[in-house]
Symmetry: D2
Subunit: 101 residues, 4 copies
Amino acid sequence: MSDIKKLTKQIIDFRNARDWKQFHKPKDLALSLMLEAAEVGEHFQWKNDKEIQAYIKQHKNDIGEELADTFYWVLLMAHDLDVDLVKIFEKKMKKMRLNIL
Amino acid sequence: MSDIKKLTKQIIDFRNARDWKQFHKPKDLALSLMLEAAEVGEHFQWKNDKEIQAYIKQHKNDIGEELADTFYWVLLMAHDLDVDLVKIFEKKMKKMRLNIL
Amino acid sequence: MSDIKKLTKQIIDFRNARDWKQFHKPKDLALSLMLEAAEVGEHFQWKNDKEIQAYIKQHKNDIGEELADTFYWVLLMAHDLDVDLVKIFEKKMKKMRLNIL
Amino acid sequence: MSDIKKLTKQIIDFRNARDWKQFHKPKDLALSLMLEAAEVGEHFQWKNDKEIQAYIKQHKNDIGEELADTFYWVLLMAHDLDVDLVKIFEKKMKKMRLNIL
């Protein structure tokens, strides 16, 4: 089940079942997104290219969890801001291929 | 077309067609992810809740573009690190429902 | 005039003269700090070590401006949160020398 | 001792005594700066204005430590990039007062 609409529905159903939307103000969602992105970045601090390759083999799942957390906030924010993520993504890819971007 | 595998394929095909993988070192990908998340956050700087609601109505697409850019780097990193984003996401959602997380 | 107390006073006097404290809520100050740090980081995106050395020579002042902006928010936040920045810094340096940190 | 030159000297003497400059590549310093700024921001996640005021009273020192860490990387980067932090800061304050900025 890798459909974005369905993944987003999981997030929103979970949130609604607990009445947590009240806490999800846009600025806090954005802050959470930035904090999770930082959690991804932390894994690469101080390491050179060679060390990073070895590190990734060992810690693939840990880094993956931070990526999934970042992914979570992207989907949640897109939903709450009524943004069609895939549509904007496709538009960006099109511009990139046409070299406008 | 909202399937993550297909969206990721678009990103990788585009990258490969231009031989750009050489630039996509994990630390730089993580840095890009953090920078795009910051671009999302910048939209909410200084604004209170009421101002944010009005702002979102006006700038939905702009914020959406930064979310799509963040999304782009999440998918690319997950691919390059050989991380199954959906699998880790589903595991996280399961733990959250069982209240282990 | 490199005394932190005096530099901080410049920031606060400027802010007070314009009655801008009303906008300086802690969460927004923290967000500004994170955004300026990202502006520093952006200068190093995609570049390898050698390219960075050349880049620094050319863009020393630009990077310096982002560092000064980050510095600005650190001082302002420390003031508003009634934090003795130098005292905490000295305590950290002491722990580091004693290898407790 | 709140003079920036002396605080910076403490950082550099410490680093040199351990021969750690080899690890301090600019991109890693920038990444560290961004990560510490995120550590500051994390304290304000989810909290509203009233909760933040109460929180600050309780956790002043914790937030102060992250501010001091951010401050540390600002000074170190300024030194390594041969940036005169105070000079750029003063120039920025001047422009702000003249309303050019």
